[in-house]
C-alpha cells in the first residue's frame, strides 16, 4: 500500500466517524480533542452560526 492509499483510507474512516480504538489510551490526558464531533461543531460554528471571539480564536488554530 502506498502512502497516498493509506491517507485516503484514513480520511475515509475518519469521515465515517471511526478512529483507532487505542488512540485515546495513548493520548496525553487520556482524551482526544480533535474528534469527528469537534470538527462537526467547528463546521457548524464557522458556516452556520456566528463564532464567539474566544472560541473562534481557538477553533481557527
Amino acid at each position: 500500500m502506498q502512502f497516498q492509499d493509506a491517507v485516503k483510507l484514513s480520511i475515509e474512516k475518519f469521515l465515517q466517524g471511526k478512529m483507532p480504538n487505542k488512540l485515546a489510551e495513548v493520548a496525553e490526558g487520556g482524551a482526544l480533542y480533535h474528534t469527528p464531533e469537534y470538527f462537526d461543531q467547528l463546521e457548524e460554528e464557522l458556516l452556520g452560526e456566528p463564532v464567539e471571539k474566544d472560541k473562534g480564536d481557538k477553533d481557527e488554530k
Partner: protein, 190 residues
C-alpha cells in the same frame, strides 16, 4: 568482475543521522500533530498554496498527503502518526473550502456510495434463486475402457482380433515351436 554490493555489516557502520526520519520525531502526540498541521495551513504562505491547489481542482486527499509528507520528511512526526491524522486534516481543509465557497473533491469514496458487486447485481435482478434451482450436478456417463470404441484413438468395432490372432501377432504361437531362449547348440564338428 567487480562486486559493487555492500559488505555484510556495512549498514551498522553507515552514518544515517543526516536523515530527519531516522531521528526521533519532534511530535508524537495525536492532538499536537493535528495542531501543528492546522497551524501550518493557517500560515499565510501555506494557506495560499492550499487555496491554489483547491483552485486547480486538486483532491483534498492529495493536498493532505503533500502537507503530511512535508512534516514527515522534516522529521516533525513519524509516518504512522501522519497517516492517523490525515482524517482530521482533510476535514479541516474541507471546512476551509466550504467557508471560502470553493468547489472541492475529497478524493475518497463517498460514504453513501453503493458498491456494485456481482452478488448485489444478481440480487437486484432476482437471478440468485434461479441459479440455485438450476445448480444440478450433471452426472458424467461412466465409460469403461473396454467399451471405448469411437474417437480418433479408439479401437474400431469390426477390427477386434480374436485371441488366437492376438497370440499369433504377439508371437505366442511361435513360442512353443521356436523358443528363442532355447537355442540349439551348434554341433561341434571338430
Amino acid at each position: 568482475m567487480r562486486n559493487s554490493s555492500p559488505i555484510p555489516g556495512a549498514n551498522l557502520l553507515a552514518d544515517t543521522r543526516n536523515y530527519a526520519w531516522h531521528r526521533p520525531p519532534d511530535i508524537v502526540d495525536y492532538d499536537a500533530a493535528v495542531e501543528y498541521i492546522i497551524d501550518r495551513i493557517d500560515d499565510p504562505f501555506q494557506s495560499q498554496m492550499v487555496m491554489a491547489m483547491l483552485d486547480i481542482e486538486a483532491q483534498v486527499s492529495t493536498i493532505v498527503s503533500t502537507l503530511l509528507l512535508q512534516a514527515v520528511s522534516t522529521g516533525k512526526m513519524p509516518i504512522d502518526l501522519a497517516i492517523i491524522i490525515a482524517g482530521p486534516v482533510a476535514r479541516y481543509v474541507e471546512i476551509l473550502a466550504k467557508d471560502l465557497g470553493k468547489p472541492y473533491d475529497m478524493g475518497v469514496r463517498d460514504r453513501d456510495e453503493i458498491i456494485i458487486t456481482p452478488t448485489l447485481l444478481k440480487q437486484a435482478l432476482g437471478i440468485v434463486e434461479q441459479e440455485e434451482d438450476t445448480e444440478e450436478v450433471a452426472e458424467e456417463p461412466v465409460v469403461s475402457p473396454e467399451t471405448v470404441t469411437g474417437g480418433l484413438m479408439g479401437m474400431p468395432d469390426e477390427m477386434v482380433a480374436t485371441s488366437e490372432e492376438q497370440d499369433e501377432m504377439l508371437g505366442g504361437a511361435d513360442i512353443t515351436e521356436t523358443d528363442p531362449m532355447v537355442e540349439e547348440e551348434p554341433e561341434d564338428e571338430l
